[in-house]
């Protein structure tokens, strides 16, 4: 009996984490595959990965911030501003790499701003990033006079809309970033530190972890990820809109939290985050494939999410 229970416990333990999410994903895929012939095609699945690539990219950074027990609400605005900067510099200088550099600089600047105010100004990051969300969105609007910045060269659509051997470039970028994120967070001391800071900041300080530096750094990372996300979006739409990525913070947070991270810090994984984003992406795509009418989509989506999480819980209890 003892033996038995411990194997059960082991399974439960794994199910609690990523495998539970994987299970949900598989169940969803099977369900959708039975309901729509278009769903389970390589093309559609690759399409989903491209659709979630921006959320996924930013979620890597958000996970860092959430791990240390902070939050970043300004991700959507930052991505939009980075996109604008990229487009503007690109059309002005004619160089795509200069444009991307500009985006990254914006990302780092915003991240540093958020991080420094949170850490050294000792203001809750919710407030800091709520404020900067508005400020940055405003700057984007003023910069573009509210009008989308279009007329970018077709060649620029490589990152956002092109494929390599049939795989969307933006999916490849996101996967590479995920792998890097996975290594940093789960295989180096930096990940250990981030989790430690979020789990018990006092104990982290006394373990000689430089809390402040890591906190600022995680905001900078999320800023950079926003920059990449902003470039992807701009490239995909060949337009930098000051209102792009509105509400992105919720999509990103949903992926991270659904992936098992805790808003109070210290808990979360890259794989969970990736699965979280994938589940949401699959639900959205699946509902479109099933032509569920718009008003019902929100209901169905909510129900599926609840059912899925409950199912996971139920299994993990056994």
């Amino acid at each position: 009996m003892n033996q038995n229970e411990s194997t059960w416990n082991k399974i439960a333990k794994i199910l609690k984490g990523e495998v539970g999410l994987l299970l949900i994903l598989v169940i969803l895929c099977v369900l959708f595959a039975f309901s729509s012939e278009y769903f389970l095609t390589a093309k559609n699945i690759l399409n989903v990965t491209r659709q979630i690539s921006v959320v996924l990219t930013i979620a890597i950074g958000m996970l860092c911030v959430i791990l240390v027990g902070e939050i970043d609400l300004s991700v959507g605005s930052t991505a939009a501003l980075a996109g604008i900067a990229c487009a503007w510099v690109m059309t002005t200088t004619g160089s795509q790499s200069m444009g991307m550099l500009a985006a990254v600089i914006i990302g780092i600047a915003v991240g540093s701003f958020n991080g420094v105010l949170t850490v050294y100004g000792r203001i809750p990051s919710f407030i800091v990033t709520l404020a900067s969300m508005g400020i940055i969105r405003g700057i984007g609007l003023v910069w573009t006079q509210g009008k989308p910045f279009s007329g970018l060269p077709e060649s620029f659509s490589f990152i956002g809309a092109k494929h390599i051997l049939g795989v969307p470039v933006s999916s490849i970028v996101a996967v590479i970033l995920l792998i890097i994120g996975y290594f940093v967070l789960h295989k180096t001391k930096h990940g250990v530190y981030l989790k430690a800071i979020g789990a018990n900041s006092e104990a982290a300080t006394l373990s000689t972890i430089p809390n402040n530096r890591y906190k600022v750094l995680s905001f900078v990372v999320v800023g950079m990820m926003c920059a990449i996300g902003g470039v992807m979006t701009t490239s995909k739409l060949l337009t930098a809109s000051p209102t792009a990525c509105t509400g992105m913070e919720m999509d990103v947070l949903s992926a991270v939290i659904l992936g098992g991270a805790s808003l109070s810090g210290g808990i979360g994984t890259i794989t969970g985050t990736a699965l979280g984003a994938l589940i949401i992406g699959i639900i959205n795509n699946g509902m479109n494939m099933l032509s569920i009418s718009p008003f019902f989509q929100q209901i169905v989506k909510g129900m599926i999410i609840l059912a899925a999480v409950l199912l996971k819980r139920k299994n993990s209890k056994a």
Partner: protein, 287 residues
């Protein structure tokens, strides 16, 4: 080349990518589309982008994956929709745009509503009502939304040219929302003891303003103008709460779009651009 979706061989499937259903105007359009599609025996699938250009691009991709026969797109953003239209072109799916054009790709027909003109019509009526003189406040739509930019430009430019004595005392955003329309109007009323008119970028905000103005007991002095001619707004014009609104006939527009769609699928040629006539609704012609 009538391909099929969902396995039912003969049925024509039309994908309708609407910008947002959180807006009366597009809800009316969608309802009309559903009714008309049923009448024509077409299968209509609507996806709502919730005013998010990226979501819309995604939804159009999903329509392409589903191999719909024809796409009706009501772009969130004329620029941002471009690449999705290109993708549809590439997949050989004909595209028709409604309300806003696509700035890229090949569109068989665009059924346009000129938002600038809507603003102008309101401005014209307002000048008439105020006798060319007075103070007006503006409630803007979502900052940066293309429709808001056009409705603003059409109105303000027309005033500048034709009635220099009408002063725009303030222009604030209420995000196309009725609640914000009311609360921003509260503020406007506080800081403007003298005010003759309010022009709102849509009827939602205008109706919010109506409630606020009524609460402040200043309906007699302040005239309120909106755009969209939603049922509520027409009612308000009729009973004198609003001075005017602009009808853009979303139902007519979508009916025409669906008819065009059938023509395209039958191989007929269609006009590249159709302007849906706008109609100013005032107390005289409200019904």
């Amino acid at each position: 080349q009538s391909s099929s979706a969902g396995g039912e061989s003969d049925e024509v499937v039309v994908g309708f990518a609407v910008s947002t259903l959180a807006n009366d105007f597009f809800v009316t359009m969608n309802d009309a589309a559903i009714a008309k599609a049923e009448e024509m025996g077409i299968k209509l699938i609507t996806l709502d982008a919730q005013d998010n250009a990226e979501t819309q691009a995604t939804q159009i991709e999903d329509f392409i994956t589903k191999e719909v026969d024809i796409l009706l797109v009501n772009p969130v953003d004329s620029d941002a929709v471009g690449t999705a239209v290109l993708a549809a072109n590439e997949a050989g799916i004909p595209v028709i745009t409604v309300t806003r054009p696509s700035n890229l790709g090949e569109v068989l027909q665009h059924l346009d509503i000129d938002n600038k003109e809507a603003g102008m019509l309101d401005a014209e009526q307002l000048i008439k009502d105020l006798g060319g003189k007075g103070k007006v406040a503006i409630l803007e739509g979502i900052a940066g939304a293309p429709s808001a930019l056009d409705r603003q430009a059409g109105f303000v430019d027309y005033l500048k040219e034709n009635a220099p004595d009408i002063e725009v005392v303030t222009s604030l955003t209420a995000n196309y929302s009725r609640e914000e329309g009311a609360s921003v109007t509260d503020d406007i009323l506080q800081s403007n003891p003298v005010l003759d008119a309010i022009y709102a970028h849509n009827d939602g905000m205008a109706l919010g303003a109506v409630r606020s103005v009524i609460a402040a007991d200043r309906l007699a002095e302040i005239k309120i103008y909106g755009i969209d001619a939603t049922a509520d707004a027409v009612e308000a014009v009729k009973n004198g709460e609003m001075a005017a609104t602009v009808m853009q006939q979303p139902d007519v527009q979508i009916h025409m779009a669906l008819e065009t769609a059938m023509k395209v699928l039958d191989g007929e040629s269609v006009e590249a651009k159709i302007n849906i006539p706008l109609k100013l609704i005032t107390k005289e012609n409200a019904e």
